[in-house]
């Protein structure tokens, strides 16, 4: 027990001085800590002041940016307003200057005959180079022309003014057109002209071929046309009534300036178009003409007299997207004034197509049944039943590629199998 007390007392003696040393260090540390704390406080206060200053500057910058944006918008608005005011004043004052616009259409083709036909070779050919020129010359008057550069069978350049007319628009119900135009002979002839880019297939239906391509309908007329749409409750009745110079002495002749007889052709086309389904239409057409006699030395005897022509047609059309269904039929009657004989020719086509985005496969059936004795059609009258399948690929907005195969069963002559590859475009 005494030993323990002694040990305790000895340890007290040694620890006490040590404690005083530690106590001094502790005080010093406390002092230093206080200094650091004060420094920290000061820095924090400085930071706060800086932060407040930064915030003020940030607010100022934001205000300046908003003001700048406001001024930019006002300046843009003023500029646009000035432009609009100038344009609007011009429009309100009915100030009108002719505004010529030229659009181009053309196609490049390759045709291969799979059957061996004497004199017919696989070939590249440039299609019609079509300059489509329009110009409004007043608020309701416009000029339209279609100038075609093409190559004939002799590889010579031919220039054709296929359409050239002036149109007066009085209302949706009444328009007047004068000049050279497409005869109102059904849907295809009214809708598709010389630019192949618009039509689905590479080739026109056989019944609607142009006169200089062996077509049998009077596709073009020089004369007057009134047309419009008459509104009814659930449908609109589209009408076209034309009077023109009529046919020339030959199938390919279009009477642009000289009418060989005093008779005029008359055409009437009516189409009913439902209000809720404007893609659909059903209609009929009638065309009357007197074909002049051909007094040329080379003309056959049967053409020495005039021929009364009656064409009656009908159409059922669904031209929608993606589905397209076209059906048209034409009946042509020629009443020979010399022999008093009547000759009847019937032609029709049916086309179906369905668009899968940019790819549009199609099928068409063409049929023409000639009266083989018809003196007006003697050079053209080969009955034909033709199947065509193809695909249109709109590779770019204004350029389409068409690949087409057709099999034509022609009476009294070789059948043909033709591959057509066509690049058609507008520019």
């Amino acid at each position: 027990m005494i030993v323990k007390i002694k040990k305790f007392l000895i340890s007290i003696i040694f620890i006490t001085p040590l404690c005083s040393v530690f106590a001094d260090d502790l005080e010093e540390m406390k002092e230093q800590f206080k200094v650091l704390m004060n420094e920290n406080k000061r820095i924090q206060q400085d930071n706060q002041a800086l932060n407040e200053q930064l915030n003020k500057q940030k607010k100022l910058i934001d205000q300046l940016l908003d003001k700048f944006e406001e001024l930019e918008i006002k300046s843009e608005e003023n500029e646009i307003s000035q432009d609009v005011t100038t344009s609007a004043e011009g429009i309100l004052a009915e100030e009108f200057l002719p505004n010529l616009s030229i659009k181009g259409f053309s196609d490049i083709n390759f045709i291969a005959e799979l059957e061996d036909i004497p004199g017919v070779n696989d070939q590249f050919f440039v299609g019609q180079f079509d300059l489509f020129i329009t110009s409004p010359i007043a608020d309701n008057i416009s000029i339209l022309s279609e100038l075609i550069f093409e190559f004939d069978e002799m590889n010579e350049t031919v220039i054709d003014l296929e359409r050239f007319n002036i149109k007066y628009n009085f209302s949706e119900k009444l328009n007047l057109r004068a000049g050279r135009m497409h005869t109102p002979l059904g849907y295809y002839n009214e809708t598709f002209h010389h630019g192949t880019w618009f039509q689905t297939a590479a080739t026109r239906p056989s019944i609607h071929q142009f006169e200089d391509d062996g077509g049998i309908l009077p596709v073009h007329t020089v004369g007057l046309e009134i047309f419009g749409v008459l509104p009814f409750d659930t449908f609109g009745l589209k009408y076209n009534l034309s009077i023109g110079n009529g046919r020339g002495k030959k199938v390919s002749e279009i009477q642009n300036v000289i009418d060989s007889n005093s008779h005029k052709s008359v055409s009437l086309l009516l189409s009913a178009i439902p209000e809720n389904t404007p893609e659909f239409r059903i209609g009929a057409n009638i065309h009357l003409d007197k074909i002049p006699a051909d007094d040329a030395a080379t003309a056959i005897a049967a053409r020495k007299s005039s021929i009364d022509e009656l064409i009656v047609g009908g159409h059922i059309i669904y031209a929608g997207d993606p589905l397209e269904l076209l059906f048209e039929i034409s009946y042509i009657q020629h009443d020979d004034q010399l022999s008093a004989r009547k000759y009847e020719t019937t032609g029709l086509y049916f086309q179906a197509a369905y668009a899968f985005e940019k790819i549009k496969p199609y099928y068409r059936f063409d049929f023409i049944d000639f009266n083989n004795s018809d003196p007006f059609f003697l050079t053209a009258n080969i009955d034909i039943a033709k199947h065509t399948i193809g695909t249109r690929w709109d590779i770019y907005s204004w350029n389409a590629l068409k690949l087409e195969y057709s099999y034509a069963d022609r009476d009294d002559t070789d059948n043909t199998q033709t591959i057509t590859i066509q690049s058609t475009f507008t520019f």
Binding site: I80, D83, I91, N165, K167, N169, S171, F198, N276, D321
Partner: protein, 163 residues
């Protein structure tokens, strides 16, 4: 693996809830058909609107020529008009105008503008003008037409991104 009826009910309920969440999340956008304040027309059917916007109808009731203004800049309201009125995409619309020109149906393309301000200014200044803008951009200087009897703010309005 066969699903029990209760599990099927739970999945159906979840799908319905997700659909509501998605629908609720999509902000509503209404396209206003606007005309000049002096235009007497106040209501137009969708069929008539289609005719006006495709230039099949070219005159107002008073015989004055309709001045169609088409915004060309990309916007959700333009997408709605392309879908609901034209039923075409942008490229098909350009092709449509070109074919109308080619067939002689129109003599010039409709006036095209490339800003909301230009749309508003043209419609304000030209008495026969008609165009379309986002309902939120309509000002007091424009007149909004009813379409099939409904204003853009009415339930069942056709030209929006919900119907």
């Amino acid at each position: 693996m066969k699903f029990s009826l209760s599990r099927l009910k739970i999945i159906s309920l979840l799908l319905i809830l997700l659909n509501f969440c998605y629908t609720g999340y999509t902000e509503s956008l209404n396209v206003a058909i606007v005309v000049n304040k002096n235009n007497e027309l106040s209501d137009v059917s969708l069929v008539e609107l289609k005719k006006i916007f495709t230039k099949k109808k070219t005159r107002w009731v008073d015989g004055k020529k309709i001045f169609l203004i088409l915004p060309t800049f990309s916007s959700e309201e333009r997408d709605i008009v392309l879908s609901k009125i034209y039923n075409m995409n942008d490229v098909d619309l350009k092709k449509f105008w070109l074919s109308q020109l080619f067939q002689g149906g129109i003599s010039k393309l409709p006036k095209q503008v490339n800003s909301k301000i230009a749309v508003k200014r043209f419609v304000e200044r030209i008495p026969n003008a008609i165009s379309f803008i986002n309902l939120s951009d309509v000002t007091d200087d424009l007149k909004v037409l009813r379409v099939n009897g409904k204003l853009p703010s009415d339930l069942g309005y056709l030209l929006n991104n919900k119907t």
